[in-house]
Symmetry: C2
Subunit: 417 residues, 2 copies
């Protein structure tokens, strides 16, 4: 691993000064290579899939692992899209003249070497490599052992494309060992790796957090709330809360807890309950909610436990709590939430602005579905992940999250007195 | 420590929504209290000083520890200056309309709870508390045991000023124990502390780095270079390099290594050597430099060892290396430097721009003294420290470095399709 680290560090210097044209050339060459080698990739991938089946992995796992014509085409298109994004590196901003005479500003530069640790999806190999490459970083990729054959084959294509574009092939290295010690080395190699981006479930992240010495841009969980305020427009509340829960159940930005002002139960919550129950969503409710809903004839309500308020279901289950005012809602969110994405439905200007300011989450929204918390929907063009951290990048992380701002000074021989 | 952490977390919520007026009121009240209690502070401080003397601390240590009329006046003025800075919290930026209809932007918010771990200077208690307060954070301050009496007295004044301004007095807590375990607790209390800012020598920082689980904004060392290019203006080279080394020897932004293009020895380095030697600066030189300088009659040159290139002298000592071209200079800087502040002296536009882009340091300068790498000189208004890190804040860290950007979404009932 030390050798890989040293090669990455050396390559990162060349990548930092690589032209936009050569970085884009590598991405476009790679898209062509991925398309050209589609059949060969599927053959190699079949080995991984076969092994996973023999190991008794479930259908969802096999699905994530399998490369199909469609996933291969999507990878190639993704590469071409990243080539089209503007290059963040070298951007100079905020240049101002100081009383001393110097002009001070900032320049956007790559972070250096980025380590990606991820689980079974082989397409992450291509996506992550492409984002790191475009942002001028060198990358060390460590996929799961279950996808080792696919990842090794993809790595060869990546390195070929780098060579075709005149860039150092060490700029993207795939760790071709399934030895777990490699992960331990990566997360402690401060001298060779500037940041680790883990992509995977909460258990992977927590395992890495326990031992990491290298800083991480990480995503834990998404316990997202929507609060229906006393002055909510019921039509918007119903439309948005339906979408936030039921458009897809598995994403991290799906609503898990609905908070309702007691005055909004009749016009907003009652019709919503019908929609949820029609769609098969299990409702776990607080006492106050249960009383009000049962009085209105709603059935099949489950009592929410204390644990429900801090559970990310990722499933057709929703917890519901009735509150007496917005302060109670915000207190609940700041206490039980995961600081990912939280929304208010209101027509009250002051309530909306207070909610925006005071809810301590990576994304805070007024009158919109939490499902919008996403790099593409935010116009970042691409996304390496969503950060739960407050330092550096917060929320959806695009190319800029893989860069750093250094100070630059333009002088004319000034000295400090 | 857990109790302190919980109180800080609770206070951080109130601080995040505190008005600019009340934060400024606390700062101005504190300035008045510091002035009013000057005599009492000196009496308390005398206990710390006496203990330090009894423990055999040296004069420099005693000097840093002692509160004088001047240091007390400076503290009060500093507070009034921070009150005058504009409040970074709540600033909304980059709001754009997306194809879905939502408007997405970012809002600047406090980090939450900041832990400051520092050594003997009691004025850090006031400076750090003031910067964290103005940026809407709660703070836990852990000064050195040698200043415990002074820090405890200052903490009382801070909490009084918070109460006078209607802010929670737990917003600034001073750890009133000299037990080392308190530091160990602080650097691992992820659930209560969002970031640690250590202020002290390299040995303190390295000790903290070894065990910290909470992210740190940290400053290690300043091995700063100036490179005199083949196309340097000798007048600028001489003026800037004299200033960068001799204006003050101890700061982290003082030049430690001078790199000289072989064609710049005669016009720039020779006159500089006379200036340095007249000021008593010891010159440690590479072989090539020694040959050239001795041939020109310069005496008392010391052979540089490999260790010199990675040494921060903080003293009237300068290492000098002759290079054949700018690439050799940049390679030396990126390999031996500490990525703090590095400068080029040149009239060559392309060389200057390449140097700016390719030198991987927090501050990179053209034709200016490295001594300008400072929060005040950069117009930040104040400085909590200088960061050697690449993530989050890099270089001088002002109020903005103590904040985070969250995403905000203004919707009109949009849903994801």
């Amino acid at each position: 691993m030390k050798g890989i680290g040293q090669k990455a560090r050396a390559a990162s210097r060349a990548m930092a000064r690589a032209s936009t044209a050569s970085k884009n050339e590598a991405l476009i060459q790679l898209a062509a290579l991925v398309r050209k080698n589609a059949e060969a990739l599927k053959v190699v991938n079949a080995k991984d899939v076969e092994r996973a089946k023999a190991n008794g992995q479930d259908a969802a796992f096999i699905d994530r692992l399998t490369l199909t014509d469609k996933t291969i085409a999507t990878m190639a298109e993704g590469l071409e899209q990243i080539a089209k994004l503007s290059d963040p590196i070298g951007e100079m901003s905020n240049i101002r003249k100081m009383p001393s005479g110097i002009q001070v500003g900032q320049m956007r530069v790559p972070l250096g070497v980025i380590g990606i640790i991820y689980e079974s999806r082989p397409n992450v190999t291509i996506d992550a490599a492409a984002l790191c490459l475009k942002s001028g970083n060198a990358t060390i990729l460590r996929g799961g052992s279950e996808a080792i054959d696919s990842n090794t084959a993809l790595a060869k294509l990546i390195q070929e494309s780098l060579s075709l574009a005149g860039l150092p092939s060490d700029a993207v290295q795939v760790v071709e060992t399934t030895d777990r010690a490699a992960v331990g080395a990566m997360i402690t190699m401060n001298e060779y790796i500037d940041v680790i981006v883990p992509r995977g479930g909460k258990s992977l992240i927590e395992r890495l957090m326990a031992d990491a010495r290298v800083p991480m841009i990480k995503h834990l969980d998404g316990i997202c709330h929507t609060y229906i305020d006393v002055l909510a427009d019921p039509a918007k509340a119903i439309k948005v809360c339906d979408n936030a829960k039921t458009q897809r159940y598995a994403p991290c930005n799906t609503m898990e807890t609905l908070l309702v002002h007691e005055a909004a139960i009749k016009d907003s919550l009652l019709p919503l309950c019908k929609i949820y129950q029609d769609k098969g969503v299990e409702l776990r409710v607080c006492k106050k909610t249960k009383q009000a809903l049962e009085a209105a004839g709603v059935k099949n309500l489950i009592d929410a436990t204390e644990e429900d308020w801090s559970t990310e279901y990722l499933a057709p289950i929703l917890s519901i709590k009735t509150v007496s005012n917005m302060d109670e809602a915000m207190e609940h969110i700041n206490q039980y939430g995961s600081h990912h994405t939280d929304c208010i439905i209101t027509e009250d200007y002051s309530a909306g602005m207070r909610f925006l300011r005071e809810v301590d989450s990576a994304s805070v929204m007024i009158n919109a579905s939490s499902r919008f918390a996403d790099g593409f929907e935010y116009g970042l063009g691409a996304e390496i992940g969503i950060s739960n951290d407050k330092l550096h990048a917060r929320g959806p992380v695009g190319l800029e999250g893989l860069t750093s701002m250094k100070y630059i000074v333009f002088g004319q021989g000034e000295i400090r007195t």
